[in-house]
Symmetry: C2
């Protein structure tokens, strides 16, 4: 998907919402467990009910790998289902891979060919070698971890060099050189909202993937205030708050209501900024 196509979807749906598919068997409604593939069945119903309000879905690989090859089958079915029924959706593999050379080529094959994702999250620790093999795919994206929303993000990401530059700032500055705003995005944690303005200054045009709005805290308005661009430039993720809104028979309807609630807030923000 191109930068323009992504912005077009955002305008059409008046939304920059990504729904995280962190599908955990232990948290699913019990009646879903009777299905032969409860993870896929849950995802299918969640997607069907929330697709009017979301421009992206983000399966979190760990939740599928926990069940080995069977979990990967559930993932493959989920990706195929979304691709077939909602071709407008931006599909993100939240995989946080990070390896080099031929290994990175194989990860790119896994997520961009075998599974037809639009984007993958990557960890930058090993540098440019981690990212570049993915950028050979036209219309595909990498989403590089920059400043994450967890407590121990401060262990390394905010480490200063002798010129006062942080590690995450260096990731942004090198990362923007590896590709362009048309194939590189960055993960930036919403709970670090005061820092978002600084991040936007370093990368004025790149899309940010913002986790941490919702269950992890973080204010949608504050994030938008500091990071919106003339082409929106942000995708805000919510996982548990949406997909586990209810664990009763009404789980899909409850998820839809929660997604709609977020989408209405996003619409108000987009209108206010004259983006729609």
């Amino acid at each position: 998907m191109t930068y323009e196509q992504l912005f077009l979807q955002i305008k059409r749906k008046s939304s920059f919402l990504c729904v995280g598919l962190d599908t955990d068997l232990a948290k699913l409604p019990t009646f879903i467990l009777n299905n032969t593939d409860p993870i896929f069945e849950f995802n299918k119903q969640i997607v069907d009910s929330t697709a009017p309000y979301a421009i992206a879905y983000k399966p979190n690989l760990a939740f599928y790998e926990a069940y080995g090859s069977k979990g990967w089958q559930s993932l493959e079915k989920t990706v195929q289902y979304i691709r077939k029924n909602y071709p407008e959706i931006f599909l993100i593999a939240d995989a946080k891979r990070g390896d080099i050379g031929n290994t990175a080529n194989m990860y790119a094959k896994a997520f961009f060919e075998t599974l037809d994702f639009d984007a993958i999250t990557l960890s930058p620790y090993m540098g440019a070698d981690t990212v570049k093999p993915f950028l050979k795919y036209k219309g595909k994206w990498v989403i590089i971890l920059a400043l994450t929303s967890n407590e121990s993000a401060l262990d390394f990401q905010t480490m200063n060099d002798s010129t006062g530059q942080n590690l995450y700032q260096r990731v942004l500055q090198l990362g923007r050189q590896w590709g362009t705003h048309e194939n590189v995005m960055f993960v930036t944690g919403a709970t670090q909202a005061p820092l978002l303005k600084d991040i936007r200054h370093i990368i004025p045009h790149h899309f940010l993937l913002v986790p941490g709005v919702g269950a992890q805290g973080g204010s949608l308005e504050e994030v938008a205030e500091n990071t919106l661009t003339p082409h929106c430039g942000i995708i805000v993720n919510s996982s548990r708050e949406i997909i586990y809104a209810s664990n009763g028979l009404d789980f899909a309807q409850a998820a839809a209501e929660k997604a709609k609630e977020l989408q209405m807030k996003m619409k108000a923000i987009l209108l206010h900024r004259n983006l729609i």
Copy 2:
């Protein structure tokens, strides 16, 4: 596997060799491709022929994920085969995962429960939260990326803070506090041999996983000289040099010869240091 059990295996086999199972369909002997699961069949024959010389195997996840759930099936069969036939082997998932909280819990479940690996490689970018959930498993290990052997390792890993400390040194210093030398190892690239002495100074007791001896360059003797401890303290990996030693009918025999050649060098080193 405990620290003591690992050292016992090293002494018994006079080896600290890990064979990397970067099993790439494009590089396999063509006759292997007639099998219903050529990746597993290749791994099985490689393991059977090299097990006398190796104390560890390290499947590289990317090479399995490239084939989706089928690739994961080949991985599962490989792990089960090694577990059943070579219970003494230290099994490393070269997965370089790096996520937090419940996601890290699910990765731990994937690699330590669903797949019965002894160890997993992890990327430290997101800090302690990435590592700690794995340390709850008794007898299991994390292997944290510190200084890698690729060219762009210098993008971030050697970044200095205002006190002159490198990022990789900080990873070592925090990493050793997250666990102990009985459940934490570090990845350190052999092509950076002059730096290995400094690394060993920071972590005198921890095992190092050293890739990059063989096809990626790096001298076994130089690595050993700078990093051996009274309990060996290093595991040296070789992948392509062993598993693709020949792509003819003799591929398994050729792999065994290459593995034996490395093991003989290791034996000489261990003897010279009075470790066996």
